[in-house]
Structure formats: C-alpha cells, structure tokens
C-alpha cells in the first residue's frame, strides 16, 4: 500500500511510538512539538505543546484494565497529586498518559485525551529517554550526563549508572531497568537500589542508539552505530542474534506476529551531503529475526532513518527520518500471506 506521509514536523524526528491498539501514533522531533496521529489515515489528532526544546523522547502508557486505585507513579516515588485528581474513565482499553523528555530539562506528563500537561519534573540536564514500566506504575528516564553533578534528588529511586553514559533504557520487569550505553554496553539495574545487576560490556562496539523490548519483555533488540543490530535475552543479556549491515543504525524494532525485525539508519547526517543518495542507504531494512538474513528493503526517506516503530498488532509500521517526515506503511495482504521460508512455525 502507498505509505502515508506525515508532514507535521519541521525538524528531524527523534522518536515515534504507537499506542497499544496501534490506532494512534505519537511522534516527537527537534522542533519542540509532539504530534499525535490517527495511524490508519494519517490525520493529525492534535499536538502536545509546552516543551521549550528538542523533544528527545516519548512514551505512552499501556493500560488495558487499570484498577481504579491504580495511579501512575513516577520513578517509584514521585507522586503527582494532579494525576490522582484526574482519573480517567477506567476499565476500557485506552491510552491515558503520555510522558515526554526534552532538552529543556523537563520531563512532562500529558493527558493523551485532552493534551493538557498534567505534571512536569525539572532536571538539571536534558532528558534523553523515558519509558513506562509494564504495568504503567513507574516511569524511568535517562538524563544527560553532566560531569560530576548529580541529578535531582527528588525521585527517591535515583541512581547514577556506573561506567559509560547510559543512552537508552526501559523497564525489563517492575524491578529491573534495562540500559544501553554509549560504549556499547548493555546492563540491567535494580530499580530500587540502583545497583548494576548484570551487564554485557561487549554487546556492541559503538554507541547503542535504540532499545526496544519484545511484547512480553523477555528479549529485546538494540541498534548501534557499529552497523549491527542485536537481539538479546533480557534475563542473561546474552546476544541471541546479530544483524550485520553496511551503515550505522539508528533504530531497530521487532515486528509482532511475523519473524522479522526492522532496522533503520544510514550514513550520519554530517556526511550525507558528500555522497549520493544510493550510497547513504536510507532504507528501512527487514531482516529475518531467526535466520539473520535480509529479506527486504523499503525506500523512501532522503535522510537517515532516526526511529522506527511497529504497531503492536503488527499490521503497520512507521519510520521517522532526519528529513522531518514520518512514513506510515500499512502492510499489504501479501505480507501476511507470504511464506518466504516455507511452513516454519516460529513462536512469538
């Protein structure tokens, strides 16, 4: 199907995210704006205005049947009274909260429905990555490192990961936080104590650029500037699969329902002007998750692909590029029917 081109950002995309149902697509970019779109037709639903700098990261909650008493708590202890007083209609499957991190040194909580900023946390440095936990009880964020100075003491559970700077993170389980680091390290931290539980120093040879979990959070994919993407076991941090490409990678996603992973990247924005389009390799690449073989490519962006997200239902995916566009691709019927490797049953 023809991709839907979302032209709502004036600068390069930083992260895109589907909600659980896959009907909404959230995107943020360096132009301070967070957009939300209907993924089926590309219509813009609204914006979340307020950030005063590049919005580096967003995440949307995952609520299915939230009990009434369930109040999102942030980083374990930051309770925001605003949230309590504004309980949304529970019991239905819908996204309620959006959390975003920006270069204006704030992390904000938004109401998905109204677009109101519900709460903001101040940090001494930019917020580079945010992520909800599986049960939406907690939020973890990574802030930019500033030599020596510690981050705000406000969140009780706060820790300074040792060693190389953390770049990306996510909750593995409610107690464990998964991080990817500038040195290529991947590590697990205890969310309460901040102790490093486990690490794999040699997961990548260069900066880890993205980290996305499988639906049940038992394995995850990372992409890196070292031109590879890797699939890891969450428990042991062992590398399960390696996808070797020719260009630095910015993002990697796992396609639900099909044994594919999606990789995006391309030459650094800096060196793009010195080479031709075909050398940049700004395509989204589909790799077979298990055989580590490339199965296809989707062209489109005329700059590096910065971020990729697959709808949790696995019926469409979106890519956001350095060129400022988001392209939403709905998979054709043939994508689901095709069995390029014959009748092999692959478990999710």
């Amino acid at each position: 199907m023809r991709p839907i081109l979302l032209q709502g950002h004036e600068r390069s995309l930083t992260q895109i995210k589907f909600n659980r149902e896959g009907d909404l697509l959230f995107s943020c970019s360096k132009d301070h704006v967070i957009n939300v779109w209907f993924s089926h037709n590309g219509e813009r639903l609204g914006t979340y205005d307020g950030h005063n700098g590049t919005v580096w990261t967003i995440d949307v909650d995952f609520i299915t049947h939230p009990p009434l008493s369930c109040i999102p708590a942030v980083s374990h202890t930051i309770r925001s009274p605003n949230v309590i007083t504004n309980p949304l209609d529970s019991g239905s499957a819908e996204s309620r909260f959006l959390v975003s991190g920006s270069a204006d040194n704030t992390m904000r909580l938004w109401s998905v429905q109204t677009g109101k900023c519900l709460y903001r946390w101040e940090f001494p440095t930019a917020v580079k990555r945010v992520a909800f936990s599986e049960d939406d009880q907690q939020v973890v964020c990574v802030t930019e490192q500033r030599d020596g100075t510690n981050q705000s003491k406000e969140p009780e559970s706060f820790f300074n990961p040792t060693g190389s700077k953390a770049v990306v993170c996510a909750f593995a389980t409610p107690n464990l936080i998964l991080t990817g680091h500038e040195s290529g390290k991947v590590a697990l931290f205890d969310a309460k104590t901040g102790d490093e539980v486990l690490n794999n120093e040699r997961a990548h040879m260069d900066v880890v650029t993205d980290l996305q979990l499988s639906p049940d959070r038992t394995y995850f994919i990372t992409s890196s500037k070292d031109k590879t993407a890797r699939l890891h076991d969450t428990k042991t941090l062992q590398v399960l699969k390696t996808y070797q490409t020719e260009t630095p990678l910015n993002s990697a996603a796992i396609a639900p329902g099909k044994p594919y992973v999606l990789l995006g990247g391309g030459q650094d924005a800096m060196s793009v002007t010195t080479t031709s389009l075909r050398q940049g390799k700004f395509e989204t690449r589909f790799w077979h998750k298990i055989f580590e073989e490339e199965v296809g490519r989707v062209k489109g962006h005329f700059g590096p692909v910065n971020t990729i997200a697959v709808s949790p239902k696995g019926d469409c995916y979106a890519s956001g590029g350095e060129d400022g566009f988001v392209r939403v691709h709905h998979f054709d019927e043939s994508y689901f029917r095709a069995k390029p490797y014959g009748d092999l049953e692959v478990e999710e």
Binding site: D216, I290, L344, E345, E347
Partner: protein, 744 residues
Amino acid sequence: MATDSVNGAVYDDDIDAEIDYSDIEAKYKVQYDEGLDNILVVDGIPVIDKSKLDKLLTRVAKDFGKKGAPVKPEDMFMPWDDAKGKSKGYMFVEFKNADDAAYAMAAMNGHPFDAKHTFYLNHFTDVEKFVNLDETWAEPEPEPYKPKEHLRAWLGDPQGRDQYVTYRGEEVEIHWHGKPSQCEVAHKRTGWTDLYVSWSPLGTYLATLHRQGVRLWGGSSWEAQQRFAHPLVKLIDFSPNENYMITWSHDPIVVPEGMPQGPQYFSAEDEGNNIAVWDIKTGNLLRTFPSVLPESEDGTKRQMQWPALKWSTDDQFVGRVTPGQQISVYELPSMRLHDKKSLKIEGVVDFEWCPLGDKDREEAEKAVAAGKKVKENMLAYWTPEVANQPARVTVINFPSRTILRQKNLFNVSECKLYWQNQGDFLCVKVDRHTKTKKSVFCNLEIFRVREKDFPIEVVELKDSVTDFSWEPKGERFAIISTSDPNLGNPAAGITLKTDVSFYQLVRGKGDFKLLRTLPNRTSNTIRWSPRGRHVVLATVGSSSKSELEFWDLDFNQDEVRREGPNQSKEEWGVGIQHLGTADHYAVTDAEWDPSGRYLATSASAWRHTLENGYAVWDFRGQELEKHILDRFKQFLWRPRPRTLLTKEQQRKIRRNLKEYSRQFEEEDAAEESNISAELIAQRQRLVDEWNAWRRRCKDELEEERKKRGKKVEPKPKEPEEEEKEEIEVWIDEVIEQTEEVVED
C-alpha cells in the same frame, strides 16, 4: 743416537724417509697462475693464404671491436700449415686480462663472420682440459623423474567449471565459477603480485609482476613455472600461442657489475633498451629493443603504443613499426630481422596482422601433413596523406611481401584497422574531415578478404564513431557513434550521448546493411560474447550512468531456421531482441567468460573508490552474484585454449544437445534440491532452537509473575473473537398496493 734426544724424544731420520707425503703435497700445492686465461681460441676462421693475412686480421679485429671487445691485430696469432702454405682455420687471440676475454667470449661466440663462417670461441685453458678429458664414456646417472603438474589441469575439472582471478588489496584469489554450490576459492595468496596479474592467452600461465621482473605460475598447485628478470617491468604481452613474451619497463635497462650472466639475463649490449622479448619455455632472453615514442606534429610525445610489437597469429613473426619509416618483421625463434631488411614504407603509421581463422588453421595443418606450402600470413597497414600522395591502406602477403590490395583515401585525419577474428573481413575505420576541416565524419571501408580481389564496400556515416567491434566468428559488427559536441574535450562528469548501430552482411549481394540503430544511449563499450550472437552494451567509467544492456541478435533464430532463409529477408533486423537491462554502479570493466554464458563486471579501485567490487551476470542480465569489496582492483576470467574436438565431433554434440541438456537439467535439479534440503534442515534447526527458548522463556515468565503475586495475569488471551450471531431477517416491504376491479 741417545745424544740427539731432547726431552727424551727420539728422532729417527729413517722414519721420515719412509712416509709418503705426495698426497699432502698435491693437496697444498701452490696454484700457479698459468697466465693463459686471457687467451681465447677462435675457431671458424676462413682458411687463407699468407697474402691475405693482414686483411683478415684487420677484419676480425673490426668485428671484435663492433661487439665491444677490441683487440689489436698484433695480439692475434694465426698458426700455419706450412706444408700447404695455408692457415689452419683457427687462431689465438690475447686479451689484456681474463675478464676481457670472458666478455669477448660471451659476445663473439656464434658470431656470423660471413655466410660460410661462424666463430666459435673457447678459452685456451679449456682446450687443454678438453684434450685431457677421459675418453671412455661413463653413463651419467639418470636423474630421478619428477612428475610435473599438468599445466592445463583446470580443464579436466569434472564439473567443467571456469576459473577467474581477483586481485583485492594484497590478496590474489583464484576462484572456480559454476553452479552456486560449486563456486569456491581454488587458490589464494597474499602479496602474490606487486602491480597486477595477467593470464596468458590460452590460460596456461598466470603472470605476476614484481620489482625484479615477471613470474609465471601454473599447474594445479600454482608452482612457479618461469621467471624473466626485467627490473621495474610495467607492461607485458604474450604471443598468441604462449611461446614468447614481451616485457616493457619505463626505465631503460642497466646492467650493473656483478649481475648474474647467462642467456636468461641482460648483458651489456642490452643497456638503454626498454622492451625485451623472451622465450617462455626456456626463459631465455631473445632480444631487446628501445621503445619508440611517436612524436606528434606539435612535437609533444604521444602515448606509447602497446603492444609495441605485434605477433602474427602463428607465433612465427613479430612486427614492430617505426612510425613514418618502416615496419620491421622479425622471425622467431632467432629474432633476426626477416630477410635482413625492414619493409620501408614512407609515412607508415600502424599495421595489423590478419588473424588466422579456424579454417586457416585446419588447412595449415593439412598442408603441413601433406608437405605442401602453408598459406602465407597477411598484414594490413596504412599511410596518411603526405604532400600530393593520398592516404592509403595496403594489404600485403608476408613473407613474400607482395601487395594484395590497395585503397586510396582522401581527407583522412585518422585510420584504425579492425580484423574480424576469423580473418574474413578487414574494416578500416576512417575518420575524415571536410575540406574546411571544420567537421569530422566517419567512413567504414570494409575489405572482404575471402573473396577474389578483395572487394571493398564503404559505409558512410555522418557522426564520429567512438567504438567499433566485429562479432566473433560472425558477419555482423556493432558501432557506437556520437554527434555530441562534448566529444574530444572529455570533462569530468560528462557522459556522452551515443547511438549504437548493428550492421550485417547481406549474403550474395556482399554489402553491409544496417540492422538496427538504438538511439539516445550513453553506452560507450561494446562487448560481444566470444561465441557471437549475444552482445552487451555498457556505460563504463562514468560517475552518473552505469547501465548494462543485454541484447540477443538471433532471438528468433530457431524460427528462421524452420521457415527457411527466404522468410528472414523480409524481416530484416527483426531478430534483435532486448533481453534485459542491469545496473552496476560505477562499473569500470565488463568481460565475458570464455564460454559466453556469463558476463563479469567490476568496479576497480584503480579508477575510483566508489563501491568497488565485482558482479557476475548471466547472458540475460540476471544477477548471479555481487560482491562489494573495498580495495578491489582486478577481475580476469581465465582464458580457455581452442577446443580439441574436431568439427565432426562438435556437430555430433550439437545434434545430441537434447540428450545432454536433459542430463544437465537433472544435475541442476538435484543440486537445487540438495541445497534447499540442506538449507531447510538448517533453518528448521534454528527455528526449533528459537521455539524451545521461547517456550522456556514464557514458562519462566509465568512463574515469576505468580511468585511476584501482584497479579496473576491470565495467559495473554488471544484477541477474543467477537461473538457473531448471524441473524437473517426477511423484510417484506410493500411498495404499492392497488386495487383493480377486474371486469368481467
């Protein structure tokens, strides 16, 4: 005798006398310089009377002097047979020292003094040695026979695969090329060559170039076969039958003191030359030449022609042109000037030997067997317009040097000679200019060499032709012409617009007619398959275009054959069919494999550094393999020698082609299923591993959740099928109701 004892030791004079010291004396005998090392014995001197002695001595002294070994007549001694009053036919020559004598011996041995006399030189001391030789013949120990590897072993490959060599970075690799499962590296060496690699024309040897010279390698384990010590060699050229080799170095030959001497090395007389001719089997140096750099009219030196020496197809002659003056033809293996004189042709620019066709070869073999005379070689040359003389193309026989055909041409700026590879046609591409010299156009003068008196036909074209190529073993040719104004001032990044045209001989009429023109291309290279019929048009060396077009010129050949040749006349040029288009970004070279089934294209790091590597295509333009390798430099198919099958055998194979193809198809099918079976098994294993791991993971997750006790999530439910209830409703809608009274 006790008085003589010293310290209790007793000497006895008698003992001394009894011991035989002769062996020790012989061993430690002082070697007297016999002082005769500087004297040579010269055999083969004419037998003369006393009266002619002085004349002879001066003549001999002169000959010695010419070769750089000066002697004075007074240093020569001629023994006389006093009884007859004549000389004995040999003489002694004394040199200043032994070194001079050694040099003179190397230079003058075998020197032809006149038609009947040839000098043979020996050291005077050697003569004595030879006289004292043991006359009884002792059988020499036969050296144990060391079996050598077969140089054409690769042709015996059971799968009939071809080979190619790649040169990347420092690595030289020889690959087998066949079905996907049969492609493998046959041999690999790091730092095998310093400059590049090259196959000999029949594929027997692989030549590598080094600072010290050229080495040839061959056999299945790639052992060194031969070496040619030509320091700083840059270019090499084999003779067509791999008997000889020519090497060229930009630096003139120097022979420093202490260089090894022998027939395989340069000697003093070679100093200053650039080109050397070698015998491949013995490794001997045959002759050296200085390189001729033709000077154009404005005095600037033009690029040297390579090959500088041109071989006749039978390896018998090699010719060398001295621009503007002469063609010198040397006969092999002596490398002497044939008939002791060059072909003096005023103004000659270039020449080409006529290649021998398969038929010619057969006839020659028959002639040799019957003891008849073999047909002579032919060569064509051209001379430009000088003063009132028109430009002229001449075809002559060689060695008889009889002129077979001449053609005068006018307003010529440049000529190029193209022989068809069977020697059936000669095409002279004549670049002509109008009288005002403002515009340039092109004529093709085609000589039909197989017919009586060599009829000539002219194809006139309005544009300039940048490339011309005969179909191998065929009656067609392809040209690339352009009217692009950018021709002649090649700027970077400009790709010329070109037209590609095919011409074919009209049988019976004898002229060449245009088959088809493909307009508005960017192709600049024509590559005919070595078997003919298929042709690839490529745009090479351009940074913006890199198209490969695959064409078949006999697409409906089978139909034509069925319908008979009469039909085809009406549909002139209808058999040309476009098979496919491909693109190899930044391609610099395109080469067919010897069987004409595959085309290899490569992007060499010698030309640029964009996406270096190589690709192999089938004749339809389907990509078979592609490798992008940085620092990739060279790709060369290994040539194959001519087939050993007779015509009859070949015909038989063609007749039974269906039989063979069935066999091959079976093999292909087996291979395919083999691969897929292997691959499927491998994939199944991977999937099984994965699935096992996933199941374990899920179980653990379940347990953990239970342990945490927070909320025991029910198993992730499959998205519930919405319950559907099919309700069929019949709706009767009364649209209109009218009452009519039926009248009786």
